[in-house]
């Protein structure tokens, strides 16, 4: 008994922090678990049978994937640039990148609508080559891109910062051009960070609701569908779609994270 008291006394900090941490963990897990386990598998199966639901989930996944690919093409070069150069106003640029995370996403949707709508030259230019953003898949993609690309840029930047510049320098002395040094040394070494950033970006894109709602209520992505069913028919009708969406997200996220983790150990 005395030994046990002493054991506890010696670990007061650890025990306190463990208990506090447990509260927040339960806060995250319980709603998710409760919703999943209180659903009737039969109803879930029926909901999955609805073509409308399947196409909404499919649309969500691939629009977020396209956003991630665009993020890779445009965000990784920026991340590399920021990791390798010091310049006046760099802090400002870095802050700018984080802004989409902090602004309300409905407001972000409005802002995007202004630029990519029909009344601004950007929207007109895209319109002239046949790309419309309002109530169309490209609108969903840019909404997702806007709110989720900071995750990819920041993660890729951290990855590039960890690559020793001298590795690139050695590559140059060995006959590699700056492009070859990037593709043969920097990119493979930062790849893990870029990949996990991409996973975060994709997941964040899938979960986007506010900005997508403003730009494209239709075609309907899964988060909008959850909202619509809740508004029009109530909780019981919205829940199966929500559960399916959560399950899809959890499964994908765990699979991709473990893939990234495997890469880390290899």
């Amino acid at each position: 008994m005395r030994n046990m008291l002493r054991w506890v006394a010696a670990r007061r900090l650890t025990i306190t922090f463990f208990l506090l941490g447990l509260v927040i963990l339960l806060f995250i897990f319980v709603p998710l678990l409760k919703m999943v386990f209180s659903s009737d598998p039969g109803i879930l199966w029926d909901t999955l049978g609805e073509g409308e639901v399947r196409s909404a989930i499919w649309l969500t996944l691939y629009a977020a994937l396209i956003a991630t690919v665009v993020g890779l093409l445009l965000g990784v070069p920026l991340a590399y640039f920021l990791a390798r150069h010091r310049f006046r106003g760099k802090r400002f640029v870095e802050t700018l990148i984080d802004i989409p995370i902090v602004v309300p996403h409905s407001a972000a949707g409005i802002a995007l609508l202004f630029v990519f709508g029909q009344n601004f030259f950007v929207g007109k230019a895209f319109n002239s080559v046949g790309i419309d953003f309002v109530s169309a898949v490209p609108g969903i993609v840019i909404a997702m891109l806007f709110v989720s690309v900071p995750f990819l840029i920041n993660s890729a930047k951290n990855g590039f910062e960890k690559v020793d510049v001298r590795l690139e320098k050695v590559a140059r002395t060995l006959g590699a051009s700056p492009w070859q040094a990037f593709f043969r040394v920097s990119l493979p070494l930062a790849w893990r960070s870029i990949f996990s950033g991409s996973v975060m970006m994709w997941a964040r894109g899938i979960s986007e609701f506010g900005a997508v709602l403003i730009l494209a209520y239709h075609p309907m992505v899964a988060p909008v569908m959850v909202y619509e069913r809740f508004e029009e028919y109530g909780l019981d009708y919205a829940r199966p779609v929500a559960v399916i969406l959560i399950l899809v997200c959890i499964v994908l996220f765990i699979a991709l994270r473990s893939l990234a983790y495997r890469g880390e150990r290899a």
């Binding site: 590795l167 320098k169 050695v170 140059r172 002395t173 060995l174 006959g175 590699a176």
Partner: protein
């Protein structure tokens, strides 16, 4: 041949100014300077990896000042190896070779040859992180040599290694230089290293080249106090190591013979740190020790410690604490015995 004319490089807090060097083909050239003297930047400037302010760099009669680093054909080895962590040893050595448009078998046979030359053939499939420091540095050398560089630049290649690996890699450097006759520029802050390897030494300090000469010249006739401080840091002697009875070794400097512990033989250098020498008024009898009689010719007071120069007549600089100095009642002109272990003498 490599020639550097009036090179000026801005380093932010200070600059390298008016660097003029002319390095002969096949020469092993040392740039000796303290930490923070801009040695690494000097090498990076030569390789085209660091922007220079003014000056010219000539390589075998061609000006390369504005040539891209990848087109200069200059091999580079960094202090902490800078091996590509995502590639195997083989992948590292192949990196530069792959840039050349040659048949695959030819590349692989070059890898085998260069790995054999540096004794890393058994490591080819390993990842850099699994290698010891000495092994890593040999792989870095193999990688730099794989492109048959016109000049090999070595940035403190031995400084990160433990003593045994250091001796090993140093031996390897000498072998490579002898066999491939590569022109080498090697920067270091270590005077022993400079003497052991260099055909000529340039001393870099305060942003300038202070002296260029053979190791002997730098050591015997330092042109400035700065150079002298480098050279006087330790007891350094030139001599010859040969066999003694019972497998021991003798280092002879003229008539003087010292017992040493080494596997090396031939004309070499020996160094002895001042703090490894014991000063006494009576001879110390001990079989494993060197004991010499001499006269104190100079006393350099550093506060809690003192440097004494004892002439045997060969000069030994010894370090004593103020306390033992006072207890022994030492003064200039006095006869003393100096004693040091055979293992305290470093042969290089």
């Amino acid at each position: 041949m490599i020639e550097i004319k009036n090179l000026t490089v801005d380093l932010g807090t200070f600059s390298l100014q008016d660097i003029n060097l002319k390095i002969e083909p096949g020469e092993y050239f040392i740039v000796l300077g303290p930490t923070g003297s801009g040695k690494t930047i000097l090498l990076e400037s030569i390789a085209g990896l660091y922007p220079i302010k003014s000056g010219e760099i000539w390589l075998n009669g061609t000006e390369v000042t504005k040539v891209e680093p990848e087109k200069r054909g200059i091999g580079f080895v960094y202090q902490d190896y800078a091996l590509f962590p995502h590639l195997s040893v083989k992948g590292n050595i192949l990196f530069g070779l792959k840039q050349m448009k040659r048949p695959k078998e030819e590349l692989l046979s070059t890898v085998d040859w260069i790995a054999g030359l540096l004794g890393v053939s058994h490591l080819l499939e390993r990842k850099p992180e699994t290698l010891s420091g000495g092994e890593r540095q040999k792989v870095a050398l193999a990688r730099a040599l794989s492109i048959s560089p016109q000049v090999l630049l070595l940035d403190e290649p031995l400084s990160a290694l433990d003593p045994q690996a250091r001796e090993d890699v140093q031996h390897e450097l000498r072998q490579i230089h002898r066999r491939l006759e590569t022109t080498i520029i090697h920067v270091t802050h270590d005077f022993e290293e400079a003497i052991a390897l260099g055909d000529r030494i340039a001393v870099l300090g305060e942003g300038h080249i202070l002296q260029i000469g053979t190791p002997e010249q730098i050591f015997r006739q330092p042109s400035s106090e700065f150079v002298a401080r480098f050279a006087m840091a330790r007891n350094i002697f030139s001599g010859e190591v040969r066999d003694a009875e019972e497998g021991d070794s003798i280092f002879s400097i003229g008539d003087l013979e010292l017992a040493v512990v080494t596997e090396l033989r031939g004309k070499l250098h020996a160094s002895l740190r001042p703090e490894d020498i014991l000063i006494s008024k009576e001879a110390v009898i001990s079989s494993a020790r060197n004991s010499l009689r001499g006269t104190i010719t100079r006393i350099d007071n550093r506060g809690s410690t003192l440097y004494l120069t004892v002439s045997t007549p060969l000069d030994f600089v010894c370090l004593v604490t103020r306390r033992s100095f006072e207890e022994l009642g030492l003064k200039a002109g006095e006869e003393v015995y100096i004693t040091f272990k055979a293992s305290a003498i470093h042969i290089f």
